[in-house]
Symmetry: C2
């Protein structure tokens, strides 16, 4: 039967990343493609102990319906932490618990955009966000990035050219996929442009806790005197991805509408894991736990960069992230990206082609994303070596 | 600041039920209003034991990202059960795990409806579904119910009058809020009308396992030779509401689009609880557990009906459900509903006014919803007695 699918969904395909993820069941594959945090980043033992206590003492509360805004003690903790560490002023904003940062992004778009409204994004950008915007019928406009964040002239032009622009989506810190961190000066410029063109900024910061080099930079949200920034964060990269607990901080009036929209998506976020997160941050040292993840990624990213320096021809450039999970490699133009990705997979190395991250789906990219979070140290070296050899083989073929 | 909220959300308010639920922290309140399952319906002890095992043996799998479609062993179990018990043919349908039945409803609307398309619903209907449709910009058309389900003539007229109708949302079994079960004959008529007018039927069956009287009636999905029914179910009323694990069965092509839409809402449903559900159904006897819930609700519903017979004046009518959580009381016209609900709360009895369940939000209703699931047996008798006295007081005032 030919179904009449809604206009917003009918041309959408499953995310390339999630599809690649499904194919990763082959244990021979070196998984540079997935966005999975390292298994060592989950406090499994502490969670097991705390889970036992919750099921023993508070099972009914953990298994019964909760309230849409989130488990109150967890919200209180988050409000304080977001205020102190991430500049989300607690007087003028409401903190909500959401079902992963992904839901925070999707809900913000649903609340702010009509079908046909424009969302301006960095190019490249996080595919999960791009598809969330598409699934709400938004039109995406991509703005190229420089080494220190979005290109400001092109951003201003995109704002001028798109009177229906409502939302400006940015990942200023340890960008996915580009591995770039936006400078403070650019953050200020981005904020001013959003103000000038009456855009709401959606600042996505799932990796913000994971800095392993360089200096902390204030969030765009910390500059938000006008109440135009929605800030999204997540426990996925510091406690557990599979539990689906994220959070956001938004001006009260926007937050109130997000609550309404969330209520009809999933009523509330898993109650047990909200209680578990709260128990963890109360009884354990979250900062020490995060410090251990930073050390882990510092080592693994350094190893990957060293391997790229050792095994990649000089014509391949790559970013050097100061935190987060990803780096971004760019091939010389004579190498065809889709063939490269396909042949890498034949050699059992999975990477994500840059085309997946293009807001405007132009099909043109010479870049691919690597993660150092998921693979072992041995796999990092072996995998990069294989990719380096593949680049050399392909260069030899075109010469 | 005055924000430009999207057209679909700007006039939406938080669900009356969830708002009442928030006010139920006062322990003096008798909670006839909430849709919460009885705390005794949660297999807390078994969940505690199984949780310990999962954290001990499979913590990383439980805490890492999963796949959007759901945890494969749980999906396999559900596919078989839905096939055997609920007529969801496993060859022509895909089973998906969703974040509560609520998400299944919301996603189906997102995938099938453009803004401005019409969803035809029973009047009254489940407020969570109505608001999910509204949040996707759908226009709602309500069709009155008879004692054996939706009025067929009015349904046909609604289909004729609304060429933009795409979806027909029904709760044929133990209807929320009306407590009615649709007869088999009407199920067949509903299916034929949907076929005739090219509508997709969304059959919501969260209470289908909870029959405590009468005979099982085949689902509408079991009649689905054309592939036009999406069937939604949930573990919320049989295992845990707070864990947010539901499921749906849909024709493959629709399911594929639902996966895309789900991916961008929350990536996947909480992985740990999917594993926990699977462990429970594998290691424990789900049917025996459900049988214990049926016995519980049989006793509590009988007690509420007896109390209504004893304490309510004859001018108040009420439904006699054969299963599920709710019954529906209708006041004589001379009693003003909103005053009744307000005064009941002053006497510490919370009920939900029928106006909350009106798809067209007409503000006109003389009915209210009661649940016997949440209150204790003592509260059921006390609460109904208070409501009966209030009706008598209000009747005396208007005479």
């Amino acid at each position: 039967m030919a179904y009449q699918i809604s206009d917003k969904l009918k041309n959408m395909k499953p995310s390339a990343i999630r599809e690649i993820f499904k194919s990763l069941t082959d244990p021979r594959i070196i998984a540079f493609a997935a966005g999975n945090p390292a298994a060592e980043s989950f406090p499994s033992e502490a969670f097991g102990l705390l889970a036992g206590e919750i099921f023993e003492k508070e099972a009914v509360k953990a298994l019964q319906y909760g309230i849409t805004e989130g488990f109150p003690p967890l919200r209180e903790f988050l409000t304080e932490r977001l205020h102190e560490r991430f500049g989300c002023d607690k007087e003028s904003n409401t903190t909500l618990v959401v079902t992963g940062g992904q839901q925070g992004i999707e809900l913000t778009c649903k609340v702010m955009c009509n079908e046909g409204d424009v969302v301006i994004c960095e190019n490249p950008s996080f595919i999960g966000a791009l598809n969330a915007f598409r699934s709400n019928g938004a039109t995406l406009v991509g703005v190229d990035m420089d080494g220190d964040g979005i290109n400001i002239e092109k951003l201003e032009k995109a704002c001028r050219d798109n009177p229906r622009a409502k939302l400006l989506y940015v990942i200023p810190t340890f960008h996915n996929p580009a591995g770039i961190t936006t400078s403070l000066e650019k953050r200020k410029q981005i904020y001013e442009i959003a103000k000038k063109y009456s855009l709401i900024i959606l600042e996505d910061n799932p990796y913000g806790e994971l800095r392993f080099a360089g200096e902390e930079i204030p969030t765009i949200k910390s500059l938000d005197t006008e109440g135009i920034v929605v800030y999204c964060g997540s426990f996925s990269k510091v406690l557990s991805a599979g539990m689906r607990v994220g959070f956001l901080s938004a001006p009260h009036d926007i937050a109130q509408k997000i609550v309404v929209a969330k209520q009809v998506e999933d009523v509330h976020t898993n109650q047990f894991f909200q209680m578990l997160c709260h128990a963890f941050v109360t009884r354990y040292d979250l900062d020490e736990h995060i410090a251990s993840i930073r050390r882990l990624y510092k080592t693994k990213s350094a190893l990957m960069i060293k391997a790229l320096e050792d095994y990649m021809p000089d014509c391949v450039s790559f970013t050097r992230p100061e935190g987060g999970l990803f780096l971004w490699c760019t091939l010389p133009e004579e190498i065809e990206l889709s063939a490269f990705v396909k042949r890498a997979l034949e050699r059992f190395v999975a990477v994500v082609p840059g085309t997946a991250f293009d807001p405007e789906d132009s099909g043109v990219s010479h870049s691919f994303r690597l993660t150092y979070a998921t693979p072992t140290e041995e796999q990092i070296v072996t995998g990069v070596k294989i990719l380096g050899e593949l680049v050399k083989d392909m260069l030899a073929e075109v010469k």
